[in-house]
Amino acid sequence: MTTEEKDRIELLQGTLDLLILRTLLFGPAHGHAIARAIERNSEDVLQVEQGSLYPALHRLIKRGWISFAEGPSENNRRAKYYRLTARGRRQLQVETTKWDKLAGAIARILRPAEEKVE
């Protein structure tokens, strides 16, 4: 367990929003499913404290980037299914571009040699 935990990365401020938007691009999902998807798609490297998902979801609703509807969960109870709005979709593009630029820039700073090789 200990080694596993060391390998896991705490999420950067704001990136959770991006990940949620990205996850919802595949279709509506409820809170638990979103958390699961983020963990799984990052091959369990990104560790989301599942509770922190909820303030992020509310923030996104507030900004009008996602909306929600109610539907049945695996437990056959009511759950909220979140989905991207049109604005959210646009925002995802903006954020993804921003992220790519940021990641590229950081990578260039950290590994200037590799860039030369390429």
Binding site: H30, G51, Y54, R59, S67, S73, N75, R77
Partner: protein
């Protein structure tokens, strides 16, 4: 689902969402092979602290709200700063409106709402009976409900199970300053109260200095006194060494034992005693300043009711229960021991009224004027609000494009409305703050106006209630005048607004205009109501001031003395008055002097019934008459015209036959066309030849009790023949300014006896001014507020008309290009303005007519429907309206067609 609703749902459902999340995780964990318990804890661990999550979620929304508020405030400040003139006009009109309301409210708070500054005031009740007339000798004084006789009080205090404590109090005279005081050899006058030993304890008042009165003081009639804070400040400079000092009250030594705290003023707002002494047969001091005659003490008489009593209810005892218990107990006691007759007991009612705000004499005197004034300033505020709404409406109209653009870009309407409301609330609160400053400055001025003579001891400093009131009014007006423009300009009808061109060509005529116009109509109606009221009050004051008083008030100086408090009694008392009169007449500049029990229009009178010997009057015809006890030459000095017979003279002494002078209305009522001279009458219900007064003169009727109503039937009897005189007042007629002889008068009185102090020194005209204080205040304030209302309405009309002219510049230009004359344009605009004003006036006149009937009792010498006032008010309104409408009309007539058309 609307956003607001969805947000609320999000928060409400959060718990459920979290629970659901954890359960799904738990299920997955079980499917992965954990035991149910392990699975649950693992799920919880993974989720993190739900409480923190909930807090974070709330923070998200609060943050948004604060962000929006901050944006709104910043944006609002910017927009307001862009139009400084508009902002200033709005803030100032609101400040005037809110300030006036707050000033009047602070008086209402002080007089009608504030609780006594004592412990648990809501437990206090005041006992008062309806029996003052039936009980022999009880002083009748408006505002006071006499509670019981002293023996009755003692029994009640010992023997009742509804009150935690029962305490009594009684003033030492009818006037505010009625006790002769001597401090370090200096004579002066002060007002005091006798209170039972448990008075301070029962009220829950703690001493500021020394101690307060106790049951022991009462039991032993200790010659001790407690000073009030203002008196201690005034006379002793707040010296802490007054405790233990001896002062003379009514000529006898009393030791100061303590001082009450600054906020305590007794139990009657507006009448604050200077000192308190124990309720007992104290030397030199008597309840109400009266003596029982025949040497009997007032404290032993069962049938003489003179004491006022308050009780503090035991916890859990309701007022109803207390009243019932009290009633039973009193009936038994009264018909038994206290010597009340059966017939009295049947009609007897003892009230136990809530006394949390103290005795209500001030309240009953001022509640009607204050209510009228509050309605007046409320209307002024409404008119001011109308202006502000119109101005904001006009501005909102010019911002329609901005709003439409923002709506089109996806701003929600509620967000825009909120932003506009924030702006109007900012205006309102700024107006409220300035208004509060106006009120702080104006309220003491109002108190001075209302009191006439000596200012009433009312505390109108700003307090939390008053500040809260101002803030509340400001908020309310902010919402009231801000909502309509905000809703109007954000109406979700985008395309016409977007299509409007820069010059603001109006494609939807009428819809907003009607609101702006109805505002003007309402303002005109309300201001007409207010100026009509002002006219009625001014005419009333003029009628009161210019009426024929029946005597000549010019050049007369009044002052009172009370030699009885310096030890004079019996024949010596009559002699000292005679001596004083001689000495006063010798003062240079004095043309004549006399004395009387009460000066004219002081507010004090003797009243009662008389029975005439011949012709006899039937019992039910015997109306109440007024009488005064006067010295020689009273009628001559006051210049009351003698019609028949003679004046009261020096020769009417205690031993000569009893005589009286009556006035014309009395003579006509009792004797008709018969000659009244020589006829006899008795005070009381039955003629008694042994105690009769013979009429020796008839005079013209004159004002005595007040400035209003019919001239009272009045009888004048010599002060030597009407029992032992109490305090008397002198009337001194001078050639010039009567107040200039005050110093020499003081010296003259001191020469007769250095212990005598002068009270109520003022000219007769000052006294009349004081009697008219309330009326003058009404006239002044209603004029001020009427003018304010009229000015506000004129600004409203002017603003609306110029705005309309500005918007219609194109149209006017086209008309003029097509041949319309400047005169015609002028007429058209004026006509439109006058249509509004006339509709307003047509609504305002009936309103004023109805409102005037409510103040009918405050009017004098004219009907509430006084045609002159109504016509004058309407003409004033039309004149002001014409002026306000002329400027924009002239601007319209000067429109250059070419310029206007090029503007398009």
């Amino acid at each position: 689902m609307s956003r607001r609703k969805s947000r609320k749902k999000m928060l409400v459902d959060l718990d459920e969402d979290i629970r659901e999340h954890i359960e799904i995780e738990t299920r997955e964990n079980i499917e992965n092979g954990m035991t149910p318990e392990e699975a649950h804890y693992a799920a919880l661990r993974k989720f993190g602290n739900p409480l923190l999550v909930k807090e974070d979620v709330c923070a998200v929304w609060i943050q948004q709200w604060l962000e929006h508020l901050g944006q709104d405030l910043r944006y609002g400040l910017r927009t307001l700063a862009q139009t400084p003139a508009l902002t200033a006009v709005v803030v100032l009109s609101l400040a005037l409106g809110i300030g006036a309301n707050t000033a009047i409210f602070s008086l209402i708070d002080a007089v009608m709402l504030r609780m006594l500054p004592v412990k648990d005031p809501q437990q206090l009740v005041l006992l008062s009976s309806n029996q003052t007339k039936a009980v022999h000798g009880a002083p009748e004084y408006s505002g006071y409900g006499i509670s019981l006789s002293y023996p009755g009080f003692l029994r009640l205090r010992q023997n009742n199970d509804v009150f935690a404590s029962v305490f009594g109090f009684v003033p030492l005279g009818f006037d505010t300053e009625s006790v002769a005081v001597k401090i370090d050899g200096q004579p002066s006058l002060a007002g005091g109260e006798m209170v039972s030993g448990n008075y301070f304890d029962g009220l829950g008042v703690a001493p500021l200095l020394g101690r307060l009165l106790t049951a022991d003081d009462e039991a032993h009639a200790a010659q001790v006194t407690v000073l009030s804070f203002p008196y201690w400040t005034r006379r002793f400079g707040r010296s802490p060494s007054v405790v233990g000092k001896t002062i003379f009250l009514g000529g006898h030594p009393y030791t100061i034992v303590g001082v009450t705290p600054p906020e305590f003023f007794g139990v009657e707002p507006g009448r604050s005693p200077d000192f308190w002494v124990p309720l007992a047969d104290e030397p030199g001091l008597t309840p109400w300043g009266v003596t029982a005659g025949s040497g009997q003490s007032m404290f032993t008489q069962k049938k003489w009711w003179w004491l006022m009593i308050m009780g503090r209810l035991k916890p859990g005892v309701s007022q109803t229960k207390a009243r019932a218990a009290l009633d039973v107990w009193l009936r038994q006691t009264l018909t038994g021991d206290l010597g009340m007759q059966e017939v009295d007991a049947r009609t007897f009612v003892m009230k136990a009224d809530p006394a949390s705000r103290g005795l209500d004499s001030l309240r009953s005197y001022f509640s009607q004027p204050l209510t009228i004034l509050m309605s007046v300033v409320g209307l002024v505020l409404l008119i001011a609000c109308g202006n502000v709404a119109a101005l904001l409406l006009a501005r909102a109209q010019s911002r329609r494009r901005e709003m439409a653009v923002r709506l089109a870009l996806g701003a929600s309407r509620s967000r825009l409305v909120r932003q506009l409301l924030t702006e109007s609330l900012m205006l309102a609160l700024a107006g409220g703050a300035v208004g509060l400053a106006f009120a702080a400055w104006g309220a003491p001025l109002l108190v001075a106006l209302m009191s006439g003579g000596a200012p009433l001891p009312i505390d109108v400093h700003l307090n939390l209630t008053v500040i809260g009131f101002a803030a509340g009014v400001a908020m309310l007006t902010g919402i009231l005048f801000g909502l309509a423009p905000a809703l109007g300009s954000t109406r979700a009808n985008l395309s016409p607004a977007l299509k409007e061109n820069a010059a603001g060509f109006q494609r939807r005529p009428g819809s907003r205009w009607s609101f702006g116009k109805s505002l003007v109509i309402a303002q005109v109606a309300f201001s007409l109501l207010l100026i009509t009221g002002a006219g009625l009050f001014v005419r009333t004051l003029m009628n009161l001031e210019h009426q024929n008083l029946g005597f000549d008030p010019y050049g007369v100086l009044l002052f009172g003395v009370n030699p009885r408090q310096s030890g004079y009694e019996g024949p010596r008392l009559i002699d000292v008055y005679g001596g004083l009169l001689d000495r006063v007449r010798a003062v240079p500049g004095v043309q004549g002097a006399t004395l009387s029990a009460f000066t004219l229009l002081s507010g004090w009178v003797n009243s009662g019934q008389i029975a005439v010997e011949n012709p006899p009057v039937k019992q039910d015809e015997g109306a109440s008459i007024l009488w005064n006890v006067v010295g020689p030459d009273f009628l001559k000095t006051m210049r009351i015209q003698l019609l028949l017979g003679r004046d009261i003279s020096v020769n009417d002494t205690a031993s000569s036959p009893h005589v009286a002078v009556v006035n014309e209305v009395l003579a006509r009522k009792y004797f008709g066309s018969l000659d009244p001279i020589g006829r006899r009458f008795t005070f009381g219900q039955k003629f008694n030849p042994n105690d009769a007064y013979q009429i020796v003169g008839v005079v013209r009727s004159a004002r005595y009790d007040g400035m209003r109503g019919d001239l009272p039937m009045t009888a004048y009897v010599p002060f030597t023949q009407a029992g032992e005189p109490g305090a008397m007042h002198f009337e001194v007629r001078t050639a010039g300014d009567p107040t200039s002889i005050i110093p020499s008068l003081r010296r003259a009185v001191q020469e007769v006896d250095s212990n005598l102090a002068l009270s109520d020194v003022k000219s007769q005209n000052q006294q009349i001014d004081e009697a008219l204080a309330q009326q003058r205040m009404f006239a002044l304030l209603s004029c001020f507020f009427g003018a304010l209302a009229l000015a506000l309405a004129a600004i409203g009309l002017y603003g609306t008309m110029s705005y309309g002219v500005g918007r219609k510049t194109n149209e006017i230009g086209i008309r003029m290009a097509l041949g319309a004359k400047a005169n015609q344009v002028l007429k058209a605009v004026l006509g439109e303005a006058f249509a509004l004003v006339l509709i307003g006036a047509a609504l305002g006149l009936p309103l004023a007519f109805i409102a005037a009937r409510f103040v009918a009792s405050n009017l004098y010498g004219l009907k509430p429907s006084d045609p002159l006032t109504f016509v004058a008010a309407t003409v004033t309104l039309l004149a002001v309206a014409a002026l306000a409408a002329y400027l924009p009309a002239r601007r319209a007539s000067k429109v250059d067609p070419m310029v206007a058309l090029r503007n398009e």
